[in-house]
Amino acid sequence: MTGYISKIFGDSPVGPMQDHMDTCYSCAKELITFFEHVVSGDWDQVESSRSRIVELEHAADEFKRQVRSQLPKSLLMPVPREDLMELMQVQDEIANRARDVSGLVLGRRMELPAPIQQEFLSFVSRNVDAAKKARKSIRELDELYESGFRGAEAELVESLVHEMDKIEDDTDVMQVEIRAKLFLIEDTLPPVNVMFLYRIIELTGDIADVADRIGRRIQVLLSH
């Protein structure tokens, strides 16, 4: 004996989406520790950091599955189901990038050349900053639902998205600088390693790009 009025309310996807974003952010954040250990050459620690990243990535997948399962097609929602799904897909890419980068580095036991070590570490943490801003905007999702994606709250989120843009610009500049430094010393390094170093820089820089795309997807939600 339960009242059926209660059954007409679908589960809100907001909570799991926020959990998903939190997990993806933690995943990206772990990259900072990961690369610190890479720089200090402590491969046992690198390995355990990598397994934390993999664990977090799996946890994120679990949240993703949960959101998908509770968004059947027959839902009436303030924003289209497809837009929420796409937003979550982009969120997920943050965890995927962290997994790919760390996997590549550990698999090839890659070492960062001394001249770019410091720049690279701050490049990583700036990318993680972008992910953090993305998480902050996703944390406003429940407030956005409260205000119907309009008004003062929407403007607040819009300004968060602009901050994300700025961080993304920062990381672009940093990436150019690191590449330039690497270019200067690339003749002194084994060519295959250099190729993969460029690849690592690119994949890491993707995190800020992905965070920026999260901002774009949020703007799509606001435009409805």
Partner: protein, 419 residues
Amino acid sequence: MEDQVLYLTLAGLFGLFMAWGIGANDVANAMATSIGSKAITIRQALLVAAVFEFSGAVLAGGEVTSTIRRGIIDSSYVVGDPELLIFGMLAALLAAGVWLLVASRKGWPVSTTHSIIGAIVGFGVVALGTESISWGQVTTIVASWVASPLTAGIIAYGIYNSIHWLILVREDPLERARRYAPLYVFVTVTLIALITIFKGLTHVGLTLTTLESYTIAIGCGLIVALGGRWFVMRIHVDEKADREFHFATVEKVFAVLMVITACSMAFAHGSNDVANAIGPVAAVISIARSGLVEQASPIPIWVLMLGGFGIVLGLGTFGRHVIATVGDRITALTPTRGFSAELAAAFTIVFASGTGMPVSTTHTLVGAVLGVGMARGITAINLGVVGRIFISWVITIPAGAVLSILFFYLLRFFFGSAG
């Protein structure tokens, strides 16, 4: 009519049975939005439901009772054999009560209104012939089943949008919520008081002039609005739950208002659904007492009270459990949304009761929730379930009809003197 006492006892028992069923199950749906949004506790909900269901039944339930008692079957067809109508009404009560019990055990969404109307029409067609049914009236009732969710939906859409534009999208939603909340209370209480006074009070034997009615209604509105204002001003900002715009505190303000809509909803439910249980009882009583099928005798007030008592009994025995289950499930409905939906539904139902239309509380509430959803107020509404609820009213009518035909023949077999 030698079996008078027997008929009266049976009518009282069956009526009580159905009212009990309504109290045990249906009230949970009517009150669900209030409890789900954590505006009131279960204990408070039970108290509010008991007081306002009862007063709704007694103060505003008269018109609907009349409709069910004598609006559906043209009694000129049963003048020669009043016992037929007694058996029929008893069968209808039993059918609706049993159907309500079975369906709620199985978790099917049924409407007490639809089952009782289906039951009366069912026995009428079989026992008295199709021409005995006032088809015009039945058509109007069925039309009201479409109109009531639609109306509630449109009103809810309007109320929610007004909250949205006046409060939620502003820079200072909390100050605005505090300012507008008493206004919402005033409008709510005044309108419901007006409808009740104009449409309901004649049954209690109270007649007021238009001026008196307006004065009383506005007076009620002002008093409750001032009380509401006092509560709303005492709400503290919840620093932990709030962020930039204090939405958590805004919701607390509306939680206060939801106490008022919960009362309105219980009142509305009492006015409409109690009448469903009590209409057939009233019909049996007037025939059994006089031995005649008369059209114009007033409904004894104790019959309405019997209905109110049955509902409270149902609440006391099973209602608590059902309300708890329902409340746990609805967390998606925050007070601003719940307020819009409940208020719209309460207006629609009290108005329908005033004009004697037996509408479905559940369907009206579902319509109102959809209205808020259309205004982009609810994170997710399961349209599949909504569809099933609306389909249920189509199924409930034949189910009520078949059961009542069955009970009608059984009752006539056991008690009928003519055989």
